[in-house]
C-alpha cells in the first residue's frame, strides 16, 4: 500500500492538479486533454483500489477495514463526480473544480496509507 505504485498515483495526481490549476488561472478553455488526463488518473486509481482490496483480503491483521474501503472508494469516486459537476460550467470555476479533485486525490491516497499503517483512530 505504500509502494511505488501509490507514489506514482500521487505524483500523477499532483502533476495534473498543478497543470489544471495553471489552466484555470490562465482562463484556458477546457478541452479533451483534461478529460483524457482525468481518465488516466481514474484508471490508475482503479488499479490502486483493486490492489488495496486484494491486499486487505490477504491480510489477517487488525485493520480498520471499513475506513480502508471507504477511503479507497472515496478516492475512486471523487474525480468522476468532479467531472460531472464541473462539465456544465464553462468558466474557469469548472476547471478549478477538477483541479480540486486532483488535489484531493493525494490526500485520499495518504489517508488510505495511514489506515493501512494503523495510525487512524
Amino acid at each position: 500500500m505504500t509502494g511505488t505504485y501509490a507514489t506514482a498515483n500521487t505524483v500523477v495526481a499532483l502533476f495534473l492538479a498543478a497543470w489544471t490549476l495553471i489552466s484555470a488561472a490562465a482562463n484556458r478553455p477546457r478541452g479533451v486533454a483534461l478529460l483524457a488526463s482525468g481518465l488516466v488518473l481514474e484508471v490508475l486509481l482503479l488499479g490502486f483500489a483493486i490492489g488495496g482490496l486484494v491486499q486487505m483480503a490477504g491480510s489477517d491483521r487488525d485493520l480498520a477495514r471499513a475506513e480502508f474501503v471507504m477511503y479507497l472508494v472515496g478516492a475512486l469516486a471523487i474525480p468522476p463526480a468532479a467531472f460531472v459537476w464541473a462539465w456544465g460550467e464553462r468558466s474557469r470555476a469548472g476547471t478549478a473544480v477538477i483541479a480540486l479533485a486532483f488535489l484531493i486525490t493525494p490526500v485520499m491516497i495518504l489517508r488510505v496509507q495511514q489506515v493501512w499503517a494503523g495510525s487512524v483512530g
Binding site: A66, M70, G74, E89, A93, L100
Partner: protein, 138 residues
C-alpha cells in the same frame, strides 16, 4: 464578468454557477468527509466518544443541506442555504472554542474540532465564504 446567460434582472442569480460551482464542490467534499467519518464512528465505536461522534453526524447533515441547497439555488433553497451556513458558522465557532477550552470533552476529533484545524482551517473559512456568496448573488 459579462454573462450573456443572465437575461432576467429580477431572478436571483443561481448560487451553483460560476464561482458557486467551486464553492458547492468544496461543500460537497466536506459533506462527503463528515458523512463517511460519522457513519464509521457511529457504527463501530459510538461508546468511545458519543458527544464528538454525534457532533460529527450533525456537521455532516449541515454540510449536506448546505451543498444541496447551494447547488439548487432556487428562492427557497437560498433561504435554506442561509440557515444551514449560519448553523455551520455557529457550529464551527462553538465547537472550535469548546474543544480548545475543554479538550477533555472531545477525546475524538470532529470536523469542527480546533476550528477545523485537521482540515487546514477550511471549515472556519467556508461559512464566511458561503454567506458572502449568498449576499453577492442576491
Amino acid at each position: 464578468m459579462a454573462d450573456p446567460g443572465s437575461g432576467a434582472p429580477h431572478a436571483p442569480a443561481a448560487t451553483g454557477r460560476g464561482f458557486g460551482r467551486l464553492l458547492v464542490a468544496v461543500y460537497g467534499l466536506f459533506a462527503l468527509a463528515a458523512t463517511s467519518r460519522s457513519v464509521v464512528q457511529l457504527a463501530t465505536r459510538f461508546d468511545e466518544a458519543p458527544l464528538a461522534y454525534l457532533l460529527s453526524a450533525f456537521a455532516a447533515i449541515v454540510y449536506i443541506v448546505a451543498t444541496v441547497s447551494l447547488a439548487r439555488g432556487s428562492v427557497t433553497s437560498r433561504r435554506l442555504a442561509t440557515v444551514a451556513i449560519s448553523i455551520e458558522l455557529a457550529g464551527v465557532l462553538i465547537v472550535g472554542a469548546a474543544s480548545v477550552l475543554f479538550p477533555d470533552a472531545f477525546p475524538r476529533a470532529t470536523v469542527w474540532t480546533g476550528f477545523g484545524s485537521g482540515y487546514l482551517l477550511v471549515p472556519l473559512v467556508l461559512p464566511f465564504v458561503g454567506l458572502w456568496w449568498l449576499r453577492h448573488t442576491r
